[in-house]
């Protein structure tokens, strides 16, 4: 305290040098009577001023002629007070609700008043994030933020969330934003098969990539306990994120966690918050099944067939399945409309959370523990997610100049995920189940009728066997946190050092049972026979990030304040993985690498990346209504060639609060700001794309492989020249973005508009360009083109009604992004980004068109659009053509809330229009005759409408009217080819509307609560994804489902390949404060 006085004394002497007048002192408190430290007290019209100390006291010498003092503090209403003759002026400042909501955490954790920002931001508070009780803090953003596209891959608990800000901006690199917790970047790896098994040379079943057995154990961004989050700010533009450097080129998700409460000032030692919720989950969307035709083929019944190409249901009792011990099951030949739906359970998610927080004016702490235990909709716990989080944070003002903060988080996850795709995946089997087969009766997979030997179809495996015997389990221990030290060298200069770490240890176990029907049994020789396999992967991630910053804040003139920042950032990332797998098990049910006479495949990998950045920012503030910010950063990245390692990018943005400048402050227009920004951001390459390497030798024919070392008397090892040519000239990808926007507030901010227009261009895209195989290589890493994203984001918030006890809020956001691949290098007119490969439906990119086009083969047509059929009457495949882009044309969100006394009702609607996706569910249900669309023409013979046959005579092609009908003989193959649309029939519109979130809560009135040990009690009914509307052409799948997660966001936009169904959830939530 002595020091404080000394400083104040010195300060007053210095100030005294300007004018030797009178002393004024006082105390500033908030509306609760608590001291407000750090508030500004300025003599109006001068640069004379001071700030309050920790007790809210100030002392100031003012010139004699001074008339008015201005009191201001972030989040409080600025007030002016006439001095008169008083020597003591105490001030009670009231919080400015509107302003408080707009203190924004910007890049590097710097808090700034939103009016100073020359770019758009959106901040959601804890209340918005936890309303729907999603276990993912990211899913909770869905529908609430403009310019952001958030999708969850599947309904399995813990599956990953893709976040794309302002459109796709990279072809070969990451499109996901940077995740930042309390100013420190954290790891957001998506733990999908493409990541997990990237080096796994895995044949014989387990976890092959892409189309077979896809797994998704979630992204690490979802590890954060939503209850610990104070707010999430979405920084979309390069202007906003440039200071973060290359990793934030796709935007940033800034998470601010809760700090301890200063309970001592309220006479309490600490505060305890407890919340508990129970949420149930059920299937949201299954394909529309037909209920007219049952098990069979070619229009006749077949008791062991796995398709629904049988005759019409007639209700006659018939045997089905195999003959076992001279007996056979019987059932009426009639539809079971819910046979697939009945397979699924009600999923349950229990979340319990307790937090303790407390502190004094000098030190605070916050501790929390949470447990989330989810078991998804599939029977058994093969789809489950268990997350425990433990958090501790403390902040202390060690001296009046020196503050320190510390935060540590521990996350333990155990999750199980069901294989998706086509390889005896459970959902894949279910979609094909004939419409009359009571699949739930097969629950006992040891029953003689339902065991491996005799399960009803030779083409199928009992899904209960798969669920109970195969598994994929993921365990992870993760610790992340940070420490920050701040030293205020002088009133004008402060130094901050913030260092954070993120370490995780993970283990993935995956196993497949021996699947071998007894020789001679009906199912002997089925294609899914499997010798059993087991794979184990251990991986370790390490990341450390350090920022050392010096900031300066001085008034330059009476009207202009100067703020400056220089900083130095070091970021190191490392990951290690060890992987072993073996196929062909000896002891059934025992899943260890040792359990095989075959040699295990073993791989290891280490990836390192170091980045250093130096950055500077200058803020100029003219009379608190015109703001100008210049920024610049230089990065040095280890992933680029030495001569291109260093790259520089500047930014500038400005904000003009014209209502303040022009003195407009009437009841109609109460706030008005225009803003503009221009910024660049660089993005480095992935590690190891520069130098030529050799890879362990091996070759595959698509089914099996030849692995080295070669066996024999002397084993022979081998290495091959890598098929990818590195690029010694690789440049960073550079994003340049222009953004303009305005914010308007009407009627005392009862009606607000926030609109942004942006134009973002990403040059020198890094991509592995395909080479002709005859060059000896398959691809070369090059900088090859440019992408632009242009768009508009608009947000309107309104409070149409606000009376004493009743309030109604509405918020509408709208986003439209136009994405375009402007150019590729010469000679390249198309690149394939993902999809099924070969002749199948693919995701491609072409210059002049959006990145991510769906490309498929439709029917061949004549020039005047008639469908050409073959001699069998079936449409023939035409050339592959682009059907449209994967991305939505526009998206919109509508949120509303009603508050009446203790009641709050709120809801969010998420509307997304346009775009296309591939659906295996569509393909499979047409193939197996279970889809409602296969009822076309009552399955009677028909001639493909508007069809002709081609007559080729030399070079002369003519067409004759087609007279060959589709009959039962080829009806099945007609539909399995997609019917009239061929492959194009499996590409569906991505449009949908979802009722994202509904919550009804009630806080007990204080007169009741006061009779309990609690200070606050709240109960709520919550629901998420309750309803889904899609255009009538999509009768197959939730457009949000995706299987192709590669952790980067682009290829996952292709669609679903047997992704498990999405879910709706509903439940209740109880929160009490002690």
């Amino acid at each position: 305290m002595k020091k404080v006085l000394l400083t104040l004394f010195l300060a007053s002497i210095m100030l005294g040098a300007f004018a030797q007048e009178r002393q004024i002192s006082g105390k500033i408190t908030d509306s609760q009577g608590e001291a407000v430290p750090g508030a500004n007290v300025i003599v109006k019209g001068t640069t004379i001023g001071t700030t309050t100390d920790l007790d809210g006291n100030y002392r100031l010498s003012v010139p004699g002629e001074s008339e008015t003092l201005v009191f201001s503090f972030i989040g409080m209403q600025t007030q002016e007070v006439a001095i008169g003759s008083r020597a003591i002026i105490d001030m009670s400042m009231s919080s400015d609700v509107q302003q408080l909501a707009e203190v924004v955490v910007t890049a590097l954790g710097i808090e700034r008043d939103s009016k100073r920002l020359g770019y758009a931001t959106t901040t959601l508070k804890n209340e918005d994030l936890t309303k729907g009780r999603s276990i993912s803090p990211l899913n909770a953003l869905q529908g609430k933020v403009a310019g952001v596209n958030i999708t969850q891959g599947s309904g399995q608990p813990g599956s990953s969330t893709n976040v794309i800000l302002r459109g796709m901006s990279s072809l070969g690199s990451n499109n996901q934003p940077l995740y930042v917790v309390d100013g420190v970047p954290v790891n957001n790896t998506q733990l999908t098969t493409n990541t997990v098994f990237s080096n796994g040379d895995f044949v014989g079943g387990i976890g092959s990539q892409g189309l077979n057995g896809g797994l998704d154990f979630g992204n690490r961004g979802n590890d954060i306990n939503p209850n610990d989050i104070e707010s999430i700010t979405v920084l979309k533009s390069a202007s906003a994120t440039a200071l973060y450097g290359s990793r934030a080129a796709n935007g940033a998700i800034i998470v601010t966690t809760k700090k301890g409460k200063k309970t001592a000032t309220q006479g309490r030692k600490f505060q305890v918050d407890v919340s508990s919720s129970t949420v149930f989950e059920s299937v949201l969307r299954l394909p529309d099944f037909q209920n007219t035709y049952g098990q069979g083929f070619f229009g006749t019944t077949d008791p062991v067939e796995q398709t629904s190409w049988g005759p019409k249901f007639d209700g006659v009792v018939r045997p089905w399945g195999e003959v076992v011990d001279n007996s056979q099951l019987i059932k009426p030949y009639s539809a079971l409309p819910n046979n697939v739906k009945d397979f699924f359970n009600i999923g349950k998610t229990f979340t319990n959370n307790v937090s303790f927080s407390g502190g004094t004016d000098y030190s605070t702490f916050y501790m929390s523990y949470s447990n989330t235990n989810a078991n998804g909709i599939f029977p058994t716990d093969a789809d489950s997610y268990n997350r425990n989080t433990l958090s501790f944070r403390a902040n202390s003002n060690l001296t009046d100049r020196f503050t320190a903060g510390f935060s540590a988080n521990y996350v333990k996850k155990n999750s199980s995920f069901i294989s998706t795709g086509q390889n005896s995946a459970t959902y894949d089997e279910l979609l094909q189940t004939p419409r009359d087969i009571p699949v739930v009766e097969a629950k006992n997979f040891n029953d003689p009728f339902f065991n491996l030997d005799n399960y009803y179809s030779y083409y199928s495996v009992n899904p209960y066997f798969v669920l109970n015997n195969n598994g994929n389990e993921f365990n992870e221990d993760r610790v992340y946190g940070n420490m920050n030290l701040n030293y205020q060298v002088s009133d004008a200069v402060g130094v901050t050092w913030r260092v954070g770490g993120d370490v995780s240890n993970s283990q993935l176990s995956t196993w497949r049972a021996i699947l071998q029907p007894t020789p001679g049994s009906p199912n002997d020789g089925i294609s899914s026979e499997d010798p059993g396999a087991v794979g184990e992967q251990a991986f370790h991630n390490f990341e450390v990030n350090s920022d050392l910053m010096v900031n300066v804040s001085v008034p330059l003139t009476r009207d202009i304040d100067f703020g400056g920042l220089i900083g130095y950032n070091v970021n190191m990332q490392r990951s290690d993985a060890n992987y072993a797998s073996v196929a062909g098990l000896d002891i059934p049910g025992f899943y260890q690498i040792s359990n095989s006479s075959a040699s295990p495949a073993v791989t290891q990998s280490t990836v390192e990346r170091n980045i250093v950045g130096a950055y500077a920012q200058i803020d100029l503030d003219f009379r608190d209504y015109l703001f100008l910010t210049f920024g610049a950063r230089n990065d040095w990245s280890s992933t680029l060639p030495k001569e291109n390692r260093s790259f520089f990018y500047p930014s500038v943005n400005t904000s003009f609060v014209f209502t303040e400048a022009l003195g407009i402050s009437d009841n109609i227009l109460s706030y008005g700001k225009i803003r503009a920004g221009w910024a660049q951001a660089g993005n480095d390459a992935k590690p190891y794309q520069i130098l030529p390497v050799f890879v362990p030798a091996g070759v595959s024919d698509g089914f099996r492989s030849l692995n080295f070392p070669l066996p024999g008397g002397t084993q022979v090892n081998g290495f091959e020249v890598s098929n990818i040519i590195g690029s010694p000239d690789l440049q960073p990808e550079i994003t340049t973005e222009i953004e303009v926007g305005f914010e308007l507030g009407f009627f005392q901010q009862r009606l607000n508009f926030d609109v942004s227009l942006y134009d973002k261009s990403i040059k020198d895209l890094i991509w592995n360009a395909t080479l002709p195989r005859s060059t000896g290589y398959t691809a070369q890493t090059v900088n090859l083109g440019e992408i632009t994203n242009r768009g508009i984001e608009a947000l309107m918030t309104a409070t149409p009604i606000r009376t004493g006890s009743f309030q109604w809020d509405v918020s509408v956001n709208f986003t439209k992004n136009d994405n375009k691949l402007v150019s590729l290098t010469d000679g390249l007119d198309e690149i394939t980004l993902g999809g099924l490969g070969g002749n199948g439906v693919n995701l491609i990119a072409r210059p002049g068109e959006p990145v991510g086009l769906l490309n498929a083969r439709g029917p061949k047509t004549t020039d005047d659009g008639r469908i050409i059929v073959g001699s069998d009457g079936k449409p023939v495949y035409g050339e592959r053509e682009v059907m449209g882009q994967a991305a939505h044309d526009w998206t919109a969100g509508l949120s509303t809330g009603l508050t009446f006394k203790g009641f709050t009702v709120s809801g969010t609607l998420d509307v997304r229009k346009g775009g296309l996706f591939y659906s295996r569910s569509a393909s499979l249900t047409q193939f197996s005759g279970t889809s409602v669309v296969t009822q076309y023409n009552d399955r009677k013979p028909f001639i493909v409408p508007n069809s002709v046959q081609e007559v080729v005579d030399g070079d002369n092609v003519t067409y004759v009217e087609n007279a060959t009908p589709i009959t039962q003989d080829n009806l099945y193959s007609y539909w399995s080819d997609g019917g009239m649309g061929k492959d194009e029939a499996h590409v569906l519109t991505r449009s949908f509307t979802k009722l994202r979130e509904v919550s009804v809560s009630y806080s007990l009135p204080s007169n009741i609560v006061s009779k309990t040990p609690f200070t606050q009690v709240r109960i709520a009914l919550v629901g998420r994804n309750l309803l889904l509307w899609t255009p009538s052409s999509n009768r197959f799948a939730d457009p949000e489902s995706t299987t192709f997660n590669d952790g980067q966001g682009l290829s996952s936009s292709f669609g679903e390949f047997g992704a498990t169904p999405s879910t709706r959830s509903y439940g209740f939530d109880l929160r009490v404060t002690l």
Binding site: R704, F708, I725, R773, S774, T775, G776
Partner: protein
């Protein structure tokens, strides 16, 4: 004063931080998982085994079906496109053409370049022979191929032009001759060991392999460029040093991904539903009472005493039998070698050279040695009665009406069943023998036999300017009779 101290402290910290990240901090972009260098001893077996895996794997299946040793079974359809000649530009694209270029040939080129630089002539010869062998297969399958411009990706030549078949052929001879001229005894020539997965380090046999390959290349041109063939072969007969043993790869074990590739994929992985005995081969061997039939094929339904049942070529939609169990299936084993040039093939090549008068020696003896070697290869005792006077395979007294050539090529065709289908497909294209092939019943080529593969999609899409216009699968390649 106080502030100056404070600022100095801060300055000092900044200096410490900024100097801690020198070049070392960034020089971590050398992939720790993959080596930047590898010896020729490690790369040679990789290139050779990949070439073997493709030629002895998927190409063997294609060749086995197109040589009418095998047919696509009923009740399955994996290779129905081969057996109906329904090939597309995607057929054996990345996993055939592609693997041979970017899997095998680029490794072999690395070995050639390295060994040329270090005057390591042993590895230079080995890698040159394997390169020439692989290019030869490609040009015979596709006719014009990238050759002089090929494999230059690292030098920035990323749009290779296609060379005419004759240019490739001349180039192959030239590269073999150049490698053969080197002095293998110099000190810089490192003796290979087990990494020579074909001859275990026996360089004499590599010279024989090179000569036999040259003989094969010359004979292939005999219809199109007779003078080139005759001159070349006559030169070879200066010392007539040809293979008297198999040039094959035997490094297999009966475990996952270490087996013979046809066995691995077709038997272990697919459960063997696709490949069955072709009626063409069945009829021929059955008529002659040839014991090789029972060694090459298992009886249907796991019977021990037959009879064999074959399938008419292309008849995979037949309703009976209902699946492969009712048909004879090839007797494949996990440790079956992959043959590049078999001993029998060497003898048959020499027999033909002699018959044509380019080489010297006893054609009949060579022919019979070929038949014997074919029996031995199957673990059978040679049966001299078959080619004795009056026997089914008696060598014709004269070559009138190409009778001797026909006998040689038919025996070559039999000797290549189950193991060298692609080579016997080429030889049938060249000589027209066997002349009793039946065109597949479900063919999509208007009754024409397939003669080549179509240029692959990956090459067309990435090298548009250079890929020749696509022709039909039944268009003959340049050396075709």
């Amino acid at each position: 004063m106080k502030n100056i101290k404070r600022y100095s402290l801060v300055g000092l910290i900044m200096v410490i931080f900024s100097t801690s990240c020198g070049d070392d901090f960034f020089d971590i972009n050398t992939d720790p998982n993959l080596p930047g260098e590898a010896s020729v001893q490690l790369v040679f077996p990789a290139g050779t085994a990949i070439s073997g895996f493709i030629i002895g794997g998927q190409y063997q299946i294609l060749g086995g079906i197109w040589s009418q040793h095998w047919a696509q079974s009923v009740g399955a359809s994996q290779y129905a496109n081969y057996d109906s000649y329904d090939v597309q530009s995607t057929t054996l694209d990345a996993r055939g053409y592609g693997e041979l270029y970017n899997g095998a040939l680029n490794d072999l080129k690395y070995v050639r370049d390295e060994s040329l630089e270090t005057e390591n002539w042993n590895y230079y010869l080995m890698s040159t022979v394997m390169s020439a062998y692989t290019f030869h297969v490609l040009t015979d399958l596709y006719d014009n191929i990238p050759f002089t411009d090929a494999l230059q990706g690292l030098n920035g030549l990323v749009q290779p032009k296609f060379d005419e078949g004759t240019v490739v052929y001349d180039g192959l001879i030239e590269m073999l001759d150049e490698a053969l001229e080197k002095d293998l005894t110099v000190a810089t020539s490192i003796p290979p060991g087990a990494d020579d997965i074909i001859f275990g380090g026996d360089m004499d046999m590599w010279v024989q392999f090179a000569n036999t390959l040259k003989l094969k290349i010359y004979l292939r041109q005999v219809n199109a460029r007779e003078s080139v063939a005759s001159a070349g072969i006559q030169a070879l007969y200066q010392d007539a040093n040809f293979l008297a043993a198999d040039a094959h790869m035997t490094q297999f074990a009966d475990e996952l991904n270490r087996r013979n590739p046809v066995y691995e994929t077709e038997v272990d992985f697919s459960g063997f539903p696709n490949l069955v005995l072709s009626n063409t081969l069945l009829t021929y061997l059955d008529d002659k009472g040839d014991a090789r039939l029972d060694a090459l094929f298992n009886f249907p339904n796991d019977d021990t005493d037959g009879p064999h049942v074959g399938l008419i070529q292309g008849n995979f939609r037949a309703q009976t039998p209902t699946n492969k169990d009712g048909l004879s299936q090839p007797a494949l084993a996990p440790l079956d070698p992959i043959y590049f040039i078999s001993e029998a093939e060497s003898y048959f090549l020499q027999a033909e050279a002699i018959v044509r008068g380019y080489g010297t020696g006893d054609a009949k003896a060579m022919y019979e040695a070929g038949i014997d070697a074919s029996f031995t290869k199957l673990g059978l005792t040679p049966d001299a009665t078959l080619y004795a006077a009056g026997g089914a395979y008696e060598f014709p007294a004269t070559n009138a009406g190409d009778a001797q050539i026909q006998a040689i090529i038919e025996q070559k065709w039999v000797s290549m069943a189950n193991s060298q289908g692609l080579e016997s497909f080429f030889e049938q294209n060249r000589t027209g023998f066997p002349d009793f092939y039946t065109v597949a019943v479900n063919n999509v080529t208007a009754g024409n036999f397939p003669r080549r593969l179509l240029y692959p999609d990956t090459e067309i899409s990435s090298n548009k300017a250079n890929v020749p216009a696509q022709v039909n699968v039944f268009t003959k390649v340049w050396w075709h009779k």
